[in-house]
Amino acid sequence: MDTHTQRISGLLEKIRMENEKVGAFIEIYGEEALAKANALDAKATSGKKPGRLAGKIIAIKNNIAYRGKRLTCGSKMLANYLAPYDAAVVERVEAEDGIIIGSTNLDEFACGSDTTSSAIMRTRNPLDLDCVPGGSSGGSAASVAAGFADMALGSDTGGSIRCPAAFCGVVGMKPTYGLVSRYGLADMAMSLDQIGPLAKCVADVKLILSVIGGSDERDQTTASSPKSVDLGFEGKPSIAVAREFLEGADERIAGCFHSLVGKLKDDGYVISEISIPELRHAIPIYYLTVFAEFSSAMQKYDGLRYGKMDRELDSLVEGVSELRGDKFGLEVKRRILLGTFITTKEYQDAWYGKTLKARAVLKNAMESALSKHGLLLGPTMGVLPWKIGEKMTNPLEMYLTDMLTVPANLAGIPAGSVPFGKAGRFRPGMQVLGSRFSDAKVLALMEEIERLDR
């Protein structure tokens, strides 16, 4: 059997040859990965017990801090910013002997659904290089699909793990809000953001989630998280399909979904069809929430504190405005302006106040459906990956592609995507949603779907 060092060396060579084509990595941590592999080989020789992730090779989205390395968030604004500390998830992965191999590309500040808004580089879908990998964790999904890493970490604010997982034919999981510490994650919208894993198989997603999950005093949202994450199987659950999940879905994706439902029924699952009409409002509620929280999160980027800039600011208001105008991409500016607008005194009741109320209504509707039916099932994305550049002209068209993924973030519940069936070169993702902290149950059904796909 190969040593860890041999495997890493081989993989670094593969990445060197192929990353340019796929564009998954922003930076490769070759030296650090080799040092870690050496240490693991030495540990194995000395007979010490290896960690739970021993030998697993992991890529991390470049909005997750890795000490001393560039934390670009896909933006020119942070092009020279070096992370001053490790994110909680990085600490946990390394403590269990995972080997972090590099940082992956993303939409600028995670704003996007196809990774084309990155100011750093272009990422392509390993299943079809002319197509987008999905986003915003496009580099993470591509790194797993291209065989550059066993697992990857992404962040999911409205589908940013599940969309690229579905587009690249891998498994992706957005855990319950509050299960995984976000200490060291550059925030996008704090009431929605969650770090989660992507991998080739559900077993690996379970494994790494059991390592990164659990409370952390540096992220208050994890206060009610269980101390350790039990990922055991919980029996055959009942399942509901909301008919809104299939409205407007591509017929090839709907075909795979119906075939899955048939197989699950043959396997003895009880599947009921329900309606959650509130889902039709999910996109406005989601984006209005994001605009408000995002514009606030971006205020800190003033060109003074986050790495050297290419100029010295000579005035505070004009200088900072000009710098932000130059360094932020159009989608980031769009969201900042819209967020500023809906939170001004004049408009906050008409927009942001209504958004918060509508979010509570949608969350309650989702929770009530889940408490009655156990788990929800639908396609992850209603569309197949599009050609690079195809949806860059109309922002609303891009926003609407997130229709099926945003409800889980609005309700703070776990949702995972697992490939099922085939549509041309692609393997459409099927999405499983569960109640808060029922991540184990969601993963159990995902494993069943994976089994039925064989």
């Binding site: 910013y81 070096l82 992370a83 001053p84 500390y85 809000y177 009431s191 005093e217 208050q220 949202t221 206060a223 009610s224 509130e278 409002h281 996109i283 406005p284 509620i285 209005l288 205020q299 003033d302 060109g303 003074l304 504190r305 986050y306 790495g307 800039m309 010295e312 600011l313 000579d314 005035s315 505070l316 208001v317 900072v320 405005s321 932000r324 105008g325 130059d326 159009l330 500016k333 769009r334 900042i336 302006l337 819209l338 500023t340 607008f341 927009w351 106040g353 209504k354 918060l356 109320k357 509508a358 979010r359 509570a360 209504v361 949608l362 969350k363 922002p395 609303l396 926003y399 703070g412």
Partner: protein
């Protein structure tokens, strides 16, 4: 909802983001469409429902004791664009 160039410029000014004229024109056209589509939230969010709160029962308090660690400070200071010793140098905000 009617959005004009003046409103886009006002939002940009409040956001501390300078826009080119081309960007102002583009955003003016897009924002009307976005707000028209998003106005459907009134159907769900106009009643007496409570506001959504993210905390939902957590809000556990920490011990009132000095934070552990604190080794991050040097790394953060090192990232200042301009500094004097450990102080951040910023341009004057008023004359």
């Amino acid at each position: 909802m009617k959005i004009d160039k003046g409103l886009v410029k006002k939002m940009a000014e409040l956001s501390r983001v300078r826009l080119s004229e081309a960007e102002v024109s583009r955003l003016e056209a897009e924002f009307s469409g976005i707000f028209d589509y998003f106005s459907s939230i009134s159907e769900l969010g106009s009643g007496g429902e409570p506001l959504f709160y993210v905390a939902g029962g957590s809000g556990k308090r920490r011990e009132d004791s000095p934070a552990k660690g604190g080794k991050e400070a040097d790394g953060i200071v090192a990232q200042f664009s301009r500094k004097e010793g450990r102080l951040l140098v910023a341009p004057k905000s008023m004359d």
